[in-house]
């Protein structure tokens, strides 16, 4: 059996964003006879169908796909949960940036700048201790005031909030974005 062919098919299925049909595989591997491709796919199915392997190859939705075993779901979910705990979402980053540059600031003010209700991402940031509550604003409803924490400074490697990159510094970088295509 042609082991290279098997390997190529394996990587095609791995990289494909959707179940990869036999037709598509044949469409890529035009140099190889159809029968050989079919045989290689069958052999792969057998290898990855064995119980020795953590990854499985399945035939679904008209194509081949690598997937995990149902019995490992518990562990996979745990990993995803952990990952979520450790990282920021784009929404949380946006909220954090508004607090960093506009502090001291209230939830209503953050939401106004972002154009969406920021309470969920604010909660995330409080839980991660990147922002802190520093009192109440002397305004109707006495809303809580938020600031970035010391942990925020340590995380980004600065000593003082005054050291945040300025608008001028960032715009100088971003303005070049379009020109950089050929670079």
């Amino acid at each position: 059996m042609n082991s290279t062919l098997k390997e190529i098919i394996e990587s095609l299925i791995f990289i494909s964003m959707e179940p990869l049909s036999l037709e598509k595989i044949k469409g890529v591997l035009t140099d190889y006879p159809d029968a050989e491709i079919g045989k290689a796919v069958d052999e792969l199915l057998e290898t990855y169908g064995s119980n020795e392997c953590g990854i499985q190859m399945v035939l679904t939705g008209g194509g081949y796909l690598f997937t995990t075993k149902p019995e490992h779901d518990l562990w996979i979910r745990k990993l995803l949960r952990n990952e979520r705990k450790n990282r920021l979402s784009p929404a949380a980053l946006e909220t954090l940036s508004v607090i960093a540059y506009h502090q001291p600031v209230t939830l209503a003010e953050i939401s106004a700048v972002r154009g969406v209700d920021a309470s969920h991402s604010l909660k995330t940031l409080l839980l991660k201790r990147l922002v802190k509550i520093t009192g109440r604003k002397k305004a109707p409803g006495k809303p809580l005031i938020y600031r970035t924490s010391d942990k925020f400074l340590t995380y980004f490697g600065i000593n003082d909030i005054k050291e945040l990159p300025s608008q001028e510094e960032i715009m100088k970088i971003l303005d070049e974005e379009e020109k950089d295509i050929e670079d």
Binding site: I15, D73, L88, S89, L93, S97, V98, R114, L164
Partner: protein, 243 residues
């Protein structure tokens, strides 16, 4: 860069004055620790003069090193009152810079090899099918001050633009807009609903576009789909549509 090819070519082939200097030293088989300053200065200036058009912004950097070479040369010509060991070799600054630059250049060569290999590897851009119930959320891996600042100032820029929306009195043609949408769909197979609207220059344009899309959907020429809640809405051209 292949050295043999750069022999007859101009300054643009060098990454900068250090690159040119290093090239000349190698070409002349000069010991970097004992550079004959007169020779190298002559060679270096000769290269600068070959250029007929002077691009000052770029050449200025070459001229700085030329000035340094001439300065070192003058220092070497001065009679010494003290012993050379005490005074130090005037070439030392240049030698140190050349050695450091040479190291960086060699490291770049090694990194280039690694890059070539790694660029041929492919990772999945979407996760494999996951257990149901865990909706995928984009999470950011490593965040630096740049990301934080970029996020903020882009947000501010967006806000500014929103505040100065001017409804221009331009005449708006529904037919033209419809044709434009179909042309985009034929070229790209689908378009991102939100993105397309954001790219409209005026509110009038955006509203007109929206009406056109509604018409196209009603006429069953296009179809709008959302894979799941909060996912982008995509507009597709229907197969076998009259358009």
């Amino acid at each position: 860069m292949d050295m043999s090819q750069t022999y007859q070519v101009n300054l643009d082939n060098f990454q900068g004055p250090m690159d040119l200097l290093l090239f000349l030293i190698r070409k002349k088989k000069i010991d970097i620790h004992d550079i004959p300053i007169s020779t190298i200065t002559y060679e270096y200036l000769d290269y600068l003069e070959r250029k007929d058009k002077i691009n000052l912004e770029r050449e200025a950097e070459f001229l700085v090193i030329a000035a340094l070479l001439i300065y070192i040369k003058s220092q070497m010509l001065l009679p010494r009152e003290t012993m050379p060991e005490e005074d130090g070799d005037p070439r030392q600054i240049l030698v140190n810079r050349l050695l450091e630059y040479q190291k960086i250049k060699a490291a770049s060569t090694l990194l280039r090899e690694k890059e070539g290999r790694e660029l041929q590897r492919w990772n999945r851009s979407v996760p494999p099918p996951l257990p149901k119930g865990d909706d995928e959320e984009i999470i950011l891996k490593e965040i630096s001050l740049f990301d934080l600042a970029e996020t903020f100032f882009l947000l501010m820029q967006k806000k500014e633009k929103e505040n100065i929306h001017i409804i221009s009195g331009k005449n708006f043609s529904i037919e033209e807009k419809t044709e434009e949408i179909i042309a985009v769909l034929k070229e790209k197979s689908f378009l991102d609903f939100v993105e397309y609207f954001n790219n409209q220059k005026t509110i009038e344009d955006a509203l007109g576009t929206f009406f056109c899309l509604l018409e196209l959907i009603k006429a069953r020429i296009v179809v709008a789909l959302q894979e799941s809640l909060f996912k982008p809405i995509k507009v597709w051209l229907r197969k076998g549509s009259p358009a």
